[in-house]
Every structure is written in C-alpha cells, then in structure tokens.
C-alpha cells in the first residue's frame, strides 16, 4: 500500500497536523478520546469498508511487526500496544504547538526522535527560517527524514503542511522542501500551503509569501494553496446557521482556534490521498495527478475544492437519483467550496487541466454526464478541453455516502501571483523591515529580486496561455 510521510512545519503546519491525525484515525475507524471528532457521526454502512480501511492503515502509520497485527485497531490503547507510529515529522522553532502533541492523548503516536523544535521561533522572518534554522538543522532534518523513509517499504510521497506568511513554516518549510527535492527527487512532494488573508496578520507576510512561493514553484510537485479567508467563510456557514448541520456546528464549537478551518484542509488531503490508499474501479494514484494536471513545467499551483464541505452528513441522503450526483459536482465547482478566494472558473480564465476524484459508489453514466457539464461550463485552451482526469475510489469519506474532490489548474491562479507581487511591492517600496532580512547570514537582496522575477515569469506564462492563439499545424503527411 502506498505510504506517505507528512512533514508539518511551523505553528500552522503543526496545527493542521493536530487536526489531521484525529480525523485520519477517525476515518480508519479508530476511536480517539480527543473530544471533537467523536461528535462527527459515521455514515451508515461505513463499517462495511473495514477490510479496505485496515489494509490501507499503513499509508499513514508505521506498525512494527506488522505481521502480528491485523491492523484492526479500535482505540488509542490498541495503537499504543502495537507501538503504532504516525509517519510524521514535526518541525517547529518554538515548541508550544508541538508540545501539545507530546502531552495530548495521541502523544505516543509521535516518535520523539521525529520532533525537531527550538525556541523562540523564526520571528515571522522567512530568512531566519530558511537560512539560519535551515542550515543549523539541515543534518538533523536529513537524518530524521531518512529514518522515516527507511521505515517505509513503499514510499509514495511527502505531504508538507505549512503556512507561508510566518517565518518557520514559510522559511524552514521551504528549506525542508528543497532538501526533499535534493535527497528524494523521485518521490512526489505535495504541499498544502496556507496563504494569509489580505488583511495581513503578520506585517512581514508579503515578504515571506513571496520568498516561499518561489521555492514552492521550484521544488514542489504540486502545491495546493488555501487561504484563511476562504476557510473562514466556509466555517461561518455553520456558525451563522446558513447550512443546517447540528453535528458539524457542535464539532466546530469544540475546536481550538483554527482547528475548524484546518479540518477543511485535512478533509481535502484525505480525499487527495484516497486513491492511493484505497482501491476503486478507476483508481487514481497520487503520481497520476501531476501527469494529468501539470501541462507545462512550473505551472503546478492547483485549485482544490471539496463537496460536501461538512465532515458529516446532517441527514440520511438518498443517493440513487441524478440530482444528488449533479449537486455534488455543481457544489464542487462553486466558488464557495474553493479553498482559496480566487475563482478558478471566472470568465476570463482558462482551465489547463482538471481532475475529479470521486469517493463512493457512482455509475459511469452519472460521472460522464457531469464531465460533459463541466466541459460546457468551463473555458478551455485550444487543447485542454480534453485534458481531464476522472478517478473513482470505492471507499467514501467517513461521514457521507459519497464525496468529490475537484482539482483544477486554471490560469486564474495568476491573480494570486499578481497579488503576491503587488503586496510585496507595496512594502518593499518603503524598504520596510528589510534590514531584518538583510542582516540574516546568507540572505541577500537578490533573494527578493530573484523571487519576484520568478513569480512574475510564472505569472507571464499563465497570461501567455490565456492569450495564445491556437496553433494550427496540419498533421504529418506521408508520401
């Protein structure tokens, strides 16, 4: 079974992790005592997947003596008894979040040796994270990751979780990404990056975002950006009672700050990896995503949206009608379900590639009809209308009879890049806080300039695709 190593860096990365592990265990049918997830009901019949679930358990978890255990773990003490460890590397340059892991109910899930912490953080400074800590911790990171890799017999990919607005996740996170690229060039690197809201909570965020984005362009296989504004809006739906779902509202109310938002990212990541973990009649392994979505080098920022957003279904759903499937797809295309605020389907943008990963039981007739709907709804380049991927995974998410993950490579991402440059320019023009960066050993003004150039060039690439006139070369003629 394909295995993944999650690398969670910085406060945000580790907080996503702290939502990730209980929800993952919940999906595998393991009871955790950590409150929240128990409020999420399992959908009826979910337990019929138990064989499939236990077969896939080793995707995220390492079980020593795996022969001896049936992988049918019921609760945390089962895990502890079997010495199960998460395939996770926890990195933060302050230890408040990571120490929550080591005290919480799941504390034994994490190997002490896979935790790298320090004090007192990177001061919201990418340069400190990337250069100062990046160099100082290079060997330890490399060693820790190597040990983790050695425990995998079928490593498929790294899942990096971080924010790009701060210092550690942004700087050390991208330094770690580069390390992975250098040391494991053939293992896919999927990155979930939290972009800050435009109303910056961190003053130096525009610098950090710009510098991190360049690294993400250069070293990630695929980047799945999310924005706190978008996540916040999705959570508010339940808070304001716009979507009736008592269980979800209760779960959200039980969450620590950010945890409700992070759960949305986690949900996306579980769908994303579902095809590699579980079987399906049109199975989609993770390495297929890049083949299907990335048509040109460097253009690997992928829009993601999930449907349904809630982790648990508010009522019993009848799935045996067309309307149910069509709604599932329609919602996934709605901007309300997008993890970032930019609408990938806005009128001026073109779709360069799209993938629909469906979990649950569906007929090809329903899928084909919706793919055709998508092809008539979206705008495409001269060649990309055909560039479409469909995956069917047989195991639905725990709280629903079915779900859909929609991934799009859209030229609309240029708005994100444009905004990154714009925010950077505003700050850089005033030379605000620059000295904090320049005083860091090895950081040079060239880092700013080079990053800006790189992002601009990717921006241009997208714009060129939008404006490209179709190439019409007649097919080969033989004589």
């Amino acid at each position: 079974m394909s295995q993944f190593i999650t690398v969670q860096v910085g406060q945000c990365g580790n907080q996503i992790g702290s939502a990730f592990w209980p929800l993952t265990l919940h999906e595998y049918g393991v009871q955790t005592t950590s409150g929240g997830v128990n409020l999420l009901k399992m959908y009826k019949n979910y337990s019929k997947n138990s064989k499939e679930l236990s077969d896939a358990f080793s995707s995220f978890f390492y079980v020593p003596d795996s022969q001896q255990h049936s992988f049918a773990f019921k609760n945390v003490s089962d895990l502890e008894q079997a010495k199960v460890k998460a395939r996770a590397v926890l990195v933060d340059m302050e230890d408040s979040v990571v120490s929550r892991f080591s005290q919480g109910p799941l504390s034994n899930l994490f190997d002490r040796t896979c935790t790298i912490t320090n004090y007192p953080g990177s001061g919201n400074n990418w340069a400190v994270g990337y250069y100062t800590h990046g160099l100082e911790y290079y060997n330890r990171l490399e060693e820790t990751i190597r040990l983790m890799v050695e425990k995998c017999d079928c490593l498929h990919g790294f899942l990096l979780m971080h924010s790009v607005g701060g210092g550690t996740g942004s700087g050390l996170g991208t330094a770690t990404l580069k390390l992975l690229d250098d040391a494991y060039p053939h293992v896919d690197r999927f990155v979930s990056s939290v972009y800050p809201a435009s109303t910056q909570d961190v003053i130096t965020a525009p610098y950090n975002v710009l510098l991190a984005t360049r690294e993400l362009i250069e070293h990630a296989t695929c980047v799945f950006p999310s924005e706190n504004r978008a996540l916040q809006d999705m959570c508010n739906m339940y808070r304001n009672g716009k979507r009736e779902n008592a269980d979800q509202a209760k779960y959200n109310a039980s969450c620590l700050p950010f945890q409700d938002m992070n759960s949305i990212i986690v949900n996306m990541l579980m769908h994303l990896t579902s095809g590699s973990r579980f079987s399906g009649s049109l199975n989609t392994d993770m390495n297929e995503l890049a083949t299907n979505l990335v048509a040109y080098p460097n253009l690997h920022y992928i829009f993601s949206s999930i449907s349904p957003v809630a982790l648990t279904a508010p009522y019993i759903i009848t799935t045996n009608n067309k309307k149910y499937y069509d709604e599932l797809f329609t919602n996934a295309w709605s901007r309300n379900n997008q993890l970032i605020k930019v609408d990938p389907l806005q009128s001026r943008s073109l779709i360069i590639g799209a993938a629909h990963i469906y979990r649950g039981d569906a007929s090809l007739t329903d899928i084909r009809r919706n793919i055709e709907r998508f092809q008539s709804k979206a705008k495409f380049t001269a060649w990309s209308k055909e560039a479409m991927k469909v995956g069917l995974c047989s195991v639905p998410p725990v709280g629903h009879p079915a779900s859909l993950l929609c991934l799009m490579n859209s030229t609309a991402i240029s708005y994100l890049f444009k905004d990154i440059i714009h925010q950077f320019d505003k700050l850089y023009k005033k030379k605000a806080h620059i000295h904090h960066y320049l005083q860091v050993d090895q950081f040079e003004n060239e880092d700013f300039i080079g990053s800006r150039e790189k992002i601009l060039s990717v921006f241009d690439q997208y714009i060129r695709i939008e404006r490209q006139t179709p190439i019409n070369i007649s097919r080969l003629e033989l004589n």
């Binding site: 579980f278 049109l282 083949t291 080098p297 092809q375 380049t381 055909e386 560039a387 097919r475 080969l476």
Partner: protein, 437 residues
C-alpha cells in the same frame, strides 16, 4: 492460450472474462447432448485453465501484471468458488502505478519487470502441450497497460518470434478520462501494430452506449461494460465446431496482410439478464442482417447499439466499409426452419478486391449455447472503419503535441519529441492504409 492481463483495465477485464468462461463451463442450458457438452468443456478448460487446485478450483492460465497492488489484490480477493488465479503468476510492483504515463511504464517500469515477465511466460508456455498463442489484455489510456504492455509486446515478439500474439486493447472515451489519454493511446498503437499479430480494439464509449440503449442500464458501471466485453471475447475464444478458433487461427484468417492488423468485434443479440426469459429470439437471418448493418457507412447511430429488428434491410444500395477479411461465429442451434445463411456477409461490395474470395469470410459455428443464451453471433471484422477512430485520436494527440502540452512529463523519462513524431508517422501510415481500402 496464455492470457496476460496488464494494469487496472487488463486485470479487471481479465477477471471478468475468466468469470464468464467459468460460468459458461458450468452453464446448464446448453442445448446439446451431455456427451457433446463434456467435449466442449474439456476443450474450453484446456484453453483457459491449467489444472485444478487442491480445493477443486480451476486455475487460470493467466499472468497478472501491474505496477501497484490495489487492483491485483482486489481481483484476487473477489473469490469465486469455481476458479482462481495462480499466486505465483502475480507480477506486481509495490510502486504507485505508472502515473498514467506511457513513457514511465515502457521505459522505466517495463525493464524492471522484464525478467519476471519472461520467466513466468516461459514457464507457462513450457507447461502447455499444445500452445495456441498469447492473449494480451490492456487499456491504452493509462500508464501500465499501455506502457508496460508495449514493452512486453516487443519483448515477447523478440522472444517468441513464431508464436501468435493477439491483443485486446480498450480505447478510452472520446475525452475526459485522462488528460494524456490520446498520447498514450497513440504511442501504444504505434507499438502494437508493429509487434502484435492482431489487435482487437474495444471502445469504452461504444460499449457504454450498448449498455444504455440495449441493456437498458441507466446506471452503467465498469462492471457492466466489462460484462459486455467479456461476452464478446468468450464468444470469440470458446470452442467451435469445425476447428479450433484459437489465437493462431484468428491471426491467420483476420490479419492476413501485415499492414492491416486491427479488428473490431461486433456481436448480437445483447439481452439484459432481467428480461432474458421472456425475450423471444429472432431468426438467424435477422441477426445476420443486423451484423451486416453494422458494416454500413454513414449510419448516424452505431447499429450495434440498436436492437436488431425484423424489418429486413431493403436491398437498397448501401455503402459499406471495405473489409479485408471477416470471421463469423454463431453459437446456438441451427434448424431447418431457421437456417443460417451467411451469404449476405459474403457480398462483394463488403470486401477489398485483392483478397481472394475464399479468404474473405470465415464462418464457424457451435451448437452449444454460450452462457445459456439461445443464440449469439459474433463478427470479427478487419475493415476500413477503424481509420475514423484512429483519426480522432491522432487529431487530439496532435493538437496537444503542437501546443507542447504535457511533453515535459514524457521527456522526464526519456521520451523525446522525435519519438513522438515517429509514433505519429506510424499511426498516420496505418490510417492511410485503411483509408485507401
């Protein structure tokens, strides 16, 4: 016959196929004597199975190849009481598949699996007294079936230059399954038309329409599509009366000219299981007529996806695709009141003029019912229609290629633009040949 199933599609279809064969062996409504039936069973068993295992299950004469575990695990665990795969014949890497990338499959994964594939194939062939050839099952759109399949095709051709090899290749829906499905399909067909004696092309989209229109299945799933495909293959490879229609025979009759190695399988009638008891059957003549209509040019809807009707084809001057050769197999009882007349399928206007008329249509029959069905007919046809399908694929692949889309994914594994051009040229050639019939 040795069956090798590649990738998700090949393995799922292979499983369905063996299930159908097994069901056919166990079917009770045969329409023939006990004695004749046991001869049929014996012959069929010899073709598809090697022996019984200790639980009395038939052991499939098959090799399973994939670059990831999940499909093969699933297929092997779908247990049947009657048959099973041989666990030594699973060639399955623990990798994450071939990334829907022909180059990854054929240039990286194929060579890794080479020795194992050769060893097991040799072993299986040595075990067989009277070896009848190899059947490859795969899809052209993904990475494993297409890539590892192409690699293996070449490998087997070099290793067994005198053995007949037939491939059954599933072509994807016209669009929207895999972004690079047309690249992969084009690269696959370029290799297979080179190395393989006969390629039976199956289009998912067309089979889907059969499921919807004839079988009235509004919720068609892959399983239903595989049922139809399996039935086609069963009716082709199950024993027939006069001679053995194995891979050897098939290639020598259908693919008699080296430039024309593509064929499709047309069948009739499809009867949905729920209503089969009440269905009244038409005469053989009606079905023959139905098959003939499937060869007409310029019908807007696919005739195979329309039920046959008693409204006989008026003798109007229809235009037909030119066939090089066709093979008709009928399964079911032929009586004086319901004679089989396949003269309609021999008419001159169906064929190219350079193939001698005795080679144009081969007719085989089997009185025994296939899977309890009163009558079932299958026409394997090597005709000019296929150029349209290929044209559509090349059009789309060429469009991607001229925009340089996705090329870096292939270059990464060593497949260069020249290799693409070479494959394009090969397929353009095939298209031209078929078009000029």
């Amino acid at each position: 016959m040795l069956t090798i199933q590649f990738g998700q599609c090949g393995n799922q279809i292979g499983h369905s196929l063996f299930q159908h064969v097994s069901n056919d062996l166990d079917s009770t409504d045969t329409g023939i004597s006990k004695q004749a039936n046991s001869a049929y069973i014996e012959e069929s068993f010899e073709n598809w199975f090697t022996s019984l295992n200790k639980d009395g299950k038939r052991l499939a004469r098959a090799i399973l190849v994939d670059t990831e575990h999940k499909v093969v695990n699933k297929v092997c665990s779908k247990s049947s009481n009657c048959w099973t795969y041989r666990s030594q014949n699973l060639i399955c890497q623990a990798g994450g598949g071939s990334a829907n990338n022909w180059a990854y499959g054929s240039l990286i994964k194929g060579p890794q699996l080479k020795d194992e594939i050769l060893d097991i194939t040799r072993r299986e062939i040595e075990k067989t007294d009277c070896f009848n050839g190899i059947l490859l099952l795969l899809s052209s759109a993904g990475g494993t079936g297409s890539g590892v399949g192409s690699f293996t095709a070449e490998l087997l051709r070099n290793e067994f230059p005198n053995k007949s090899i037939v491939a059954s290749i599933v072509l994807p829906y016209a669009s929207g399954e895999i972004s690079v499905q047309n690249y992969n399909t084009m690269l696959t067909l370029a290799r297979f038309t080179e190395s393989i004696d006969l390629n039976l092309l199956i289009q998912n989209e067309q089979i889907h329409t059969i499921c919807t229109n004839i079988l009235k299945n509004v919720e068609t799933k892959l399983i239903n599509i595989n049922d139809v495909i399996s039935k086609k293959l069963c009716s082709l490879f199950q024993p027939v009366h006069q001679s053995w229609c194995g891979v050897n025979f098939l290639t020598s009759t259908i693919a008699c000219h080296p430039s024309y190695k593509l064929a499709t399988i047309k069948s009739t009638p499809y009867i949905s299981p729920s209503i089969s008891q009440y269905e009244s059957f038409y005469s053989w003549r009606t079905y023959i007529d139905h098959l003939k209509q499937m060869l007409q040019i310029s019908v807007l809807t696919d005739t195979e996806a329309k039920p046959p009707s008693n409204f006989l084809n008026s003798k109007a001057n229809h235009l037909y695709y030119k066939s090089i050769s066709n093979m008709l197999l009928s399964r079911g009882n032929i009586t004086e009141n319901d004679m089989m007349t396949c003269d309609d399928l021999r008419s001159k206007n169906l064929y190219v003029n350079w193939n001698s008329s005795s080679d144009q249509l081969t007719y085989l029959n089997q009185e025994r019912r296939l899977l309890n069905q009163d009558k079932f007919l299958t026409l394997v046809t090597n005709n000019s229609q296929i150029h349209q399908t290929l044209d559509g694929i090349v059009d789309k692949a060429w469009n991607l290629y001229t925009h340089s889309a996705f090329l870096h994914q292939y270059k990464k594994f060593g497949l260069e633009e020249d290799d693409f051009l070479e494959a394009f040229a090969k397929i353009e050639n095939v298209i031209k040949d078929y078009k000029s019939l």
